[in-house]
Symmetry: C3
Subunit: 160 residues, 3 copies
């Protein structure tokens, strides 16, 4: 007799602060409305899951390059528009504070508390040379098959 | 006996002319096929709803900065690719005219005539320091809860 | 008695190598899970369908400009992030090879073999001045109406 819960599945491809904010606001909203929610992080979206401190891991040359060039965690991500070498993100964080909105790292914490499933795409984790030690604890690793299994039952599917 | 209308819900996050064109073409198409259609404008997508003239509003410093740096209305938006300091948009508008396609401001007018619901995300309106006087008349203001209420019944949900 | 097949419909708007990779990986995955899959290429996404050799076609000035400035085929596309004047794509292709992942041109070949419907948006083909001789054989040409007919029955609809 039990009705199935609605499902929201977001692919977070983008490594931009503003796009990741949009993804996590929708995800947290959907969880508050009792959806089963998954955020599947792939390519640059994986940076939202990086720990902000440097983790000593042995890597090849290209993997080291990617690791150095990509932002370490949500707070260090840039904007998709008007980034201006990092001034844009500061402006946005300032107005977020002023309007009592939530900055991205807090939105991610809230997502964890609401049991939103945070997934890292195993294939792109490998391609970008990231290791599990560098990413947040408590996340899952999966591929396109797992994504599709969720998404084909989804009510709200988005690619961000 | 009446069947429910199909629903198309588009989040327009992007402030690019070409992406907004895609959003409005899909929206107008869906409305012509008798869908209930909503475009939820957030972040840079709000610029498509800005009036093209300057509206005198009292603002703080950062809000004034955002207001100055962001394009005033659909016609002033740039391209996501090959923008070349504004030459790209001119090229695109030229070929749009040549092929009797519709430029973005006309697509937005058409959307209004087809009763497509144009929504401005209240939270990002506040963050970017926009005021209702600066945005088109006849639009709605809402948040993620309203978006999800539409989207969870949606047949076509897109994030652009 | 037969159950209808699930449907995945992807709009590929982006002309970036990494985003097109994501689109084709999801599409190939969905086809492997027996979905009916369509990739609708519009705007810069059309470049993924271009032949890599130059095809002699008579064109107007703007169309020639677009033709020259846009990448000829999947292998020549840039990255959405960290493109660094073409070094980024080389790095990505290197790690793709290293990890035995599939580069984009191969993913497109696989899509054809799996009978994924590859569609070029007629309107943007016209706007960008592309001709059928310049695009791959065996693709379809259609507009927003055909897209919506597929998408309104879709289980997974994405805009990439």
């Amino acid at each position: 007799m039990s009705e199935q819960k609605k499902k929201t599945n977001i692919i977070l491809f983008s490594g931009d602060y503003d796009k990741a904010m949009a993804a996590y606001i929708i995800a947290n909203g959907a969880a508050a409305y009792d959806h089963d929610v998954t955020i599947f992080h792939t390519f640059w979206g994986l940076n939202a899951l990086r720990k902000d401190q440097q983790v000593p891991v042995k890597k090849g040359f290209l993997e080291k390059m990617f690791g150095k060039m990509m932002p370490r965690g949500a707070d260090k991500m840039g904007l998709s528009k008007m980034n201006f070498a990092g001034i844009g993100p500061k402006m946005i964080k300032h107005v977020i504070k002023k309007h009592n909105a939530m900055p991205l790292p807090q939105l991610i914490e809230m997502a964890k508390e609401q049991d939103i499933k945070l997934v890292a795409c195993q294939m792109t984790v490998d391609l970008l040379g990231l290791s599990k030690e560098e990413l947040m604890d408590g996340i899952e690793y999966a591929g396109v098959a797992a994504y599709l299994a969720d998404a084909e039952e989804g009510n709200v599917n988005l690619f961000i």
